[in-house]
Symmetry: C2
Subunit: 373 residues, 2 copies
């Protein structure tokens, strides 16, 4: 299953694992795949510590870092003052109302203290400081999760000899990302978890492959097994970029109550909603998404990063309450995950997931080859 | 590319072509695929005539018929009286308003005359008379497009030795269809044109394959090229069921103005909307879908079959006006099509589409096999 991307990035299997958890990143890289750490939740200092830990674990094997660089953010949020000052009263009130309606225990959200630095990290300037930290480590890839990589990021990565990857949901965006300097395109279908577009992986990948050739393309969205990996590569992808499948691994830091929800969920139990980040992101359908998206009294989600501030603050409290078994909090709790959640019904080590995918990939390819005889 | 389904149905390539146009059905069957005629638009007499024509063209090669058997229809519509009597005044008024707003010429919709028989055909009783007609012809497959095949349909097909196929959008429906007697499951992803669910082909197909084994599964949704066919079969499907790709063939009866819209459309230009049939169906996004789904004054779509009555009557007039080049009618005009519409940019003979898919399939499988060396 070696493709040109494998040669370029020095990886055995073209299986990329996006995770916010350093243990998953290290485990996948050590199993022959390519771990990519999602950096958005970290301060520059924390990111440095996480990458140092990964460096110690992987013994020079390749891994990467993903930063969130939104193309457009709420303009007001970029001006001076505390970001929380820009959250309207009725949005704060709606969160208070939800906490009360669902009887979520615990003290008021602790977000106020950290909200500002958190929110700033999803602005271009904030992402830039994470890029600086990442490039001080021996990373093999830097990825831009939203919008074209800023010129400064591309220039710094080039200087460091690190390829730049960019996630896209349309052909138009893929062309724009290549023009902005992306060395590798991740074409992500609507079935993916997190920020995602409307076009399915099956439809998107071949169009992107044709549009940006010879730039290599990885497929993302709907891929959590070897058959799906083989399908993605039949479409012309040189590898796959998976996120959801790691959320139910042993190593994942997914809150146990949310992990249980994922193991129980079917593929119908996700929704693309703006209620957590301000941009459409696929996640478990829960009382949180229902209330924000459909309740009469909902003020509607704010843009990014403001919605992220109020949602992540509230979700921290909700998740803690869900861990205590509070029923209302369990109804509200959710997390970003793709439609493949319906396939995830067992907690496994990340290494085992890699080996099973590689082995099922080989079986699928052999089965296909026999059809052509 | 022969799979057990090929043996069972006596077909060379497991490429199924769903079309409302007899010319497409005959062309695909004669090229080695398996044409399936969508019967919903025909009266029993018309269907008989169409199938007689196909019989003469295909010289014993296999083809099939697809009927629309909705599991649930608007209960009121099943009681006595003319179906049109059940359409509320504000829905009629909204159609009149749209015709006026978009300055659609031509006389009031001619639907009233034919609406009743048309609407009745999408009830269980109506579908049954189409099944009787179909089984008098040497068909190789009968398919149920919505809901489990009724016991009577399964019994009649069994007696005639004709396998029954059923379209599904969830694992749960697949299990139910097999329990109801389906011999073949068509797992259709959300990217498909027409009535469709929420789960993507990439995610749905492997789950359905595992759930109903050893019952064979065809993949539908997002498949209009050989790479996509290879991907579907890597997922475990024994063949593919394609609809959209035939709409821009030379043989298709697609209205020329709508065909041009399809050739120009990108994969972002479709929407799942209830505005044409009363159930969520993917179609070109147009002023029609926008007005019904988002305009403040929209009364919201009715259920099936009532919405179908008003929509098809209005669409007949809109399409005729669009053919005259009326700009408002061109804005409103649309048709059912999947996200693959973004790949369709050239009018080709149906036979050429079959040959190109088969040839690209072989290339994709060879490319994959080389990766495993």
């Amino acid at each position: 299953m070696r493709t040109p991307v494998c040669e370029r990035l020095g990886v055995e299997f073209p299986l990329f694992a996006f995770s916010h958890c350093r243990d998953v990143v290290a485990a996948v890289t050590n199993a022959g795949g390519f771990g990519v750490l999602g950096a958005v939740a970290y301060s520059p200092e924390q990111l440095d510590a996480e990458l140092t830990w990964i460096d110690e674990q992987v013994g020079g094997r390749p891994y990467g870092v993903d930063v969130l660089v939104p193309g457009k953010v709420d303009a007001a949020a970029l001006e001076g003052g505390h970001l929380m000052d820009f959250v309207p009263e009725r949005h704060r009130d709606f969160v208070t109302h939800l906490m009360s309606k669902y009887q979520v225990g615990g003290s008021a959200q602790p977000m106020a203290a950290t909200a500002d630095s958190f929110g700033r990290r999803v602005t271009a300037a904030g992402a830039s400081s994470l890029v600086d930290v990442a490039l001080k480590h021996p990373i093999g890839l830097i990825a831009s999760a939203l919008g074209p990589p800023p010129p400064e990021m591309v220039a710094k990565a080039r200087e460091a000899g690190v390829p730049v990857a960019a996630l896209v949901g349309t052909v138009e965006h893929a062309r724009r990302q290549v023009a902005a300097g992306a060395d590798l395109i991740v074409a992500q279908g609507t079935e993916a978890g997190g920020h995602t577009g409307e076009i399915s992986t099956m439809v998107l990948v071949p169009q992107v492959v044709d549009a940006v050739a010879p730039v290599p393309v990885l497929a993302a969205g709907g891929i959590a097994s070897g058959r799906q990996m083989a399908a993605a590569m039949a479409l012309g992808a040189q590898g796959v970029w998976c996120g959801s499948v790691w959320l139910t691994t042993e190593e994942a830091e997914t809150a146990p109550a949310v992990k249980q929800k994922m193991l129980a969920a079917s593929s119908l139990d996700t929704v693309r909603s703006r209620s957590r980040t301000g941009k459409p992101a696929r996640q478990l359908r829960s009382a949180w998404t229902q209330e924000w998206d459909a309740a009469q009294e909902s003020p509607g989600p704010l843009g990014m990063p403001l919605q992220m501030l109020i949602a992540e603050g509230a979700m921290a409290r909700i998740t803690t309450a869900a861990e205590r078994g509070e029923p209302g909090a369990l109804e509200l709790a959710n997390y970003f995950v793709g439609q493949v959640v319906g396939q995830l019904d067992q907690i496994k080590p990340a290494r085992q997931v890699v080996y099973e995918m590689v082995s099922e990939f080989a079986e699928a390819v052999e089965r296909l080859a026999r059809l052509s005889e």
